[in-house]
């Protein structure tokens, strides 16, 4: 198992911080990628942040009303070691399958 920490992402348009409105997950929860994690409010709008990945929530940072700066830790996940990266899937080693048979008269000259 490995822990992966995600910081508050850049919410665009020069915003440098956000205020936590409500956490939608708690430590111990198993979350899926894109599942809503937390509602935060900036000076421009309120947004719901989707989970950047699947995993078990280990820690969350900040309670309702707390301000978090962009780039500061927001949430920590525990993920299995053999988790794929941001794209693609982990290939599974399977027993080799074949349709072709070899036939040869090996003249050992």
């Amino acid at each position: 198992m490995a822990e992966i920490s995600f910081p508050l992402p850049d919410l665009g348009e020069g915003l440098i911080e956000a205020t936590v409105l409500e956490w939608l997950v708690s430590p111990g929860d198993q979350v899926e990628r894109n599942q809503p994690l937390v509602e935060v409010e900036t000076t421009k709008s309120a947004v719901e942040l989707p989970s950047p990945q699947a995993g078990k929530v280990v820690r969350t940072y900040g309670g309702p009303g707390d301000t978090i700066n962009v780039g500061e830790p927001l949430i920590v996940f525990e993920v299995p070691d053999n988790t794929a990266g941001i794209v693609g899937t982990v290939p599974q080693d399977e027993a080799p399958k074949r349709r072709v048979r070899l036939s040869a008269v090996l003249d050992e000259d």
């Binding site: 348009e13 409500e22 894109n34 509602e39 409010e41 709008s45 309120a46 947004v47 719901e48």
Partner: protein
């Protein structure tokens, strides 16, 4: 899988001119078999800011609802027409009706849960939804009105002061006007002059909720710290007097800006519309 068709869905125009509204129809992975839901965003917002970034679209799709989103004129990815008529609330409602039909909404039929249209509005979108419901009772099944108000704050907007401020920086005396303009200027995607056209058009057709009252069931939702929605109970009373079933929900600790992301709001709306 959530399929999604974006772009200019509407193939018909009202009054012969293209309103250049950006429409997106979002298909759920598993269709619950219910009527589509149309989402109407607030002033100086957009379908993306009001409904996508806040998690509404994902929550509705998850609930199996087909969703129609529209950017109001001058907002989001919609065009910014030059003519004032394109911004008149009455014209916008006519365009919305055409968009709903082009996206497949059909008049209500008894016993057919796929017939009709549900509407969710926020702020200015709630005003449009109220009027749309009142005039389209054969189509609209239920209304969810977020951050609603009996009077449109935009009607009190000091247009002259705003234009002077934009021209040479003269400070705006009216606090509400200054606040609304600041909000409008925060988003680079806003076409500020187009937004002022919308304000001017709204001043020409101010909101009068008593003029036509929707009679379908409605859910009114606001943050308990939302001063702009302080008159929500008056709207509820108007609806009830006209015979509508009205439910009200107050979201603790929320204001006009941050009520929109509330999970409780989404859950109340989704279950209210799931009939």
């Amino acid at each position: 899988m959530s399929g999604r068709h974006t772009g200019e869905q509407h193939s018909h125009t009202v009054e012969g001119t293209d309103p250049q509204l950006y429409v997106a129809v979002h298909e759920p992975g598993t269709d619950a078999g219910l009527r589509p839901v149309m989402l109407l965003h607030g002033f100086s917002s957009s379908a993306k800011l009001n409904w996508e970034d806040t998690g509404w679209l994902a929550a509705l799709l998850e609930a199996g609802r087909r969703v129609i989103t529209v950017d109001l004129p001058g907002h989001g990815r919609s065009g910014a027409p030059e003519d004032m008529d394109s911004y008149a609330p009455s014209r916008i409602r006519a365009d919305l009706l055409q968009i709903a039909f082009d996206a497949g909404a059909r008049p209500l039929r008894d016993g057919d849960p796929a017939s009709g249209l549900d509407l969710i509005g926020y702020s200015l979108g709630s005003r449009l939804a109220w009027e749309f419901g009142a005039t389209q009772h054969e189509l609209v099944h239920r209304l969810v009105l977020g951050g609603p108000n009996t009077a449109d704050p935009l009607a009190e907007f000091d247009l002259v002061a705003a234009q002077r401020y934009l021209a040479d920086g003269t400070p705006i005396a009216d606090e509400s006007t200054a606040g609304l303009l600041k909000m409008a200027q925060l988003l680079p995607s806003n076409n500020i002059f187009s937004l002022l056209s919308l304000v001017e058009a709204i001043k020409g057709e101010p909101f009068d909720p008593a003029e036509a009252v929707p009679r379908m069931p409605m859910l009114l939702v606001a943050g308990d710290k939302d001063e702009r929605a302080a008159s929500m109970p008056e709207l509820a009373a108007l609806g009830a007097k006209a015979g509508a079933m009205v439910e009200q929900v107050l979201l603790p600790g929320r204001n006009h800006t941050n009520a929109v992301t509330s999970r409780a709001f989404k859950q109340e709306a989704i279950s209210f519309l799931a009939v």
